[in-house]
Amino acid sequence: MKNYQYGQSSKSNAFNWFFHRISGTLLIFFLVTHFWVQHYNSSTQSVGHKAVNSSELEKVSQGTKENTLGYPEGGKLTPYDRVMQRLKSPDYAILWKAFNILFLVFALHHGFYGLTNIISDYVKNGTARAIAVTACWLLAGTLFVVGAYSTIVAGLDLGSKATAWLP
């Protein structure tokens, strides 16, 4: 069983340590851009500024034309329509999909590397630690596959078969 104590580890974690700082800095740029497009630019935002109470949830979620999510044009477009508008031009779609997949990779590496650091601080038993760390990276890998696949096929009209395997 691999021993993770200082000085006895077979592999240096220096790259991950360094990359944590690089990815963290890049994530600030990704997050600001993502936030601007998604939440603050009224022509592109796909999340409006109104709260919806649970009694009107069903009506709003049907995507009726009078949805009350608080978009600038009075809810004529549903959230799905607004995202599809962003993806209408193929060049723009490729740019945004590439942006979001990169964002996903950096966020997953940064987040789950951080989580494995925390696990290493508290889980002293070598076997338990190895299991927990492996589980973290498996979860990160699963999220990458689901997230990247969903991003790529979004708006491509491939039919329900293309997404039937998604949980």
């Binding site: 500024h49 109104k50 995507g63 996903l104 987040g111």
Partner: protein, 119 residues
Amino acid sequence: MERVKYKLSPHMIAWLFHRLSGIAIVLYLILHVWGLKALAQGPEQFNHLIAKYHLPAFKIGEILLLAACAYHAFNGFRIVLVDLLGWSNKQKKMWFVAAGLALLIVIVGGYPSLMAVLG
């Protein structure tokens, strides 16, 4: 087994907030990626998900998420400056700047969400 003792100093609070906000953001990231696969599944699923994000509980969660992200980003950038540029002599001053900027972002950015719930 030797136990590490934590003393609650300002440095420890800066570190603890960073760690807790980090855990919160990872939990949100899992939910976010898992939820947004609805975009590939079709309009019904996606519109239903986004409608749920407008429930008051989520609007409050949005403010907490913004607080976690803002603190983690500014304090994280402070750590990068200390680690990669060696600005350790300025690190304490930088923490107050980071915390101040985070607070400002939470007030300005959280206002629409708060008003959505109250108004």
